[in-house]
């Protein structure tokens, strides 16, 4: 048996939770940005046309590209702020869940049609 496959590494110092919390909140923010942009594009012709970054794909190209940029930018900022810290993750994760829930709601066409 290969010992490197079964060996358990000795425990070192515990990593702070800031980096993980930053990634989680950024994912929630990116998802929410995508949903808001999709919603805005659906409600406004001007927004819709401004989101056409690649004509064959239409506004979806702008919605997704912009959301990805917002997600990565948010992630970078949060990682810079929290990366080496231990933070109150419970509240941050709760906010991320709310954002993710709203994203699911705002991408559901019958919910969008209510507004």
């Amino acid at each position: 048996m290969n010992t490197s496959e079964t060996a358990v590494l000795p425990r070192t110092s515990i990593l702070p939770n800031g980096s993980g919390a930053a990634a989680i909140l950024a994912a929630g923010t990116g998802s929410f940005a995508l949903a808001v942009l999709a919603f805005a594009g659906d409600k406004s012709a001007a927004v819709k046309s401004s989101l056409v970054f690649y004509k064959p794909t239409g506004p979806l190209s702008g919605v997704t590209t912009t959301a990805i940029l917002i997600w990565l930018f948010t992630w970078g900022i949060l990682e810079w702020q929290w990366g080496k810290k231990t933070i109150a993750a419970e509240r941050v994760i709760a906010v991320a869940f709310v954002l993710l829930g709203l994203s699911l709601l705002l991408t559901f066409p019958p919910a969008v049609d209510l507004f």
């Binding site: 990634a23 239409g58 993750a89 699911l104």
Partner: protein, 190 residues
């Protein structure tokens, strides 16, 4: 037996990347659930840790490959505008679906939902993979992070499932077709 170029890409997107991602997701959910719900998770071996990290990375690649091929290869064929007066809409799937009250819902609900919700899958799974790779066995000490990773992976699975379901149904009622035809085999007459 033959297949068109567009059908082939649809196959790559749906069966290759999408379905494989859903399968991989179910495996990841089981492993993450086991790891998350245990009050004192067993310390993984180096091999197990490496495997999980590699597994999550493959999932990230599959998720991004699925949405990118969907949005930039297949979707333009799907939403292509038919020239005015076109009677045969078979090459214009979106227009074909919208031409009948019995199929319009596959576009107005199915595609409108799928094209956006699908992107929650790669965003969520990229985060989950980052946390698993960054923390590794240290994740045992972060119950809240573990629970968040599991929940986002579940949402990723649901989002990919919605996209996969509507993708399959839309392709059933208005298949993306056209382009070069590949002969896969020559059938014999019975």
């Amino acid at each position: 037996m033959e297949i068109t170029m567009r059908s082939f890409w649809t196959l790559i997107h749906g069966m290759g990347f999408g379905a494989l991602y859903l399968l991989a997701c179910s495996g990841a959910l089981v492993e993450l659930y086991r790891f998350t719900t245990s009050s004192a998770p067993a310390e993984p071996t180096l091999g197990q840790e490496r495997f999980l990290k590699g597994y999550m990375l493959v999932m990230v690649v599959l998720a991004w490959a699925a949405v990118l091929t969907g949005a930039y290869v297949i979707y333009p064929w799907y939403r292509a505008a038919a020239p005015p007066g076109t009677a045969d809409l078979s090459m214009f799937p979106q227009r074909l679906l919208m031409s009948s009250p019995t199929t319009i819902g596959w576009h107005s609900l199915g595609m409108e939902w799928k094209e956006h919700v699908a992107w929650l899958a790669p965003i969520s799974i990229t985060m989950a993979a980052f946390v698993v790779i960054k923390y590794g066995r240290d994740l045992m000490h972060h119950r809240q992070l573990r629970a968040a990773v599991l929940s986002f992976t579940l949402i990723s699975f649901v989002a990919a499932g919605i996209a996969g379901f509507f993708g399959a149904m839309i392709n059933k009622y208005a298949p993306v077709q056209g382009g070069h035809t590949f002969q896969l085999s020559h059938g014999e007459e019975k």
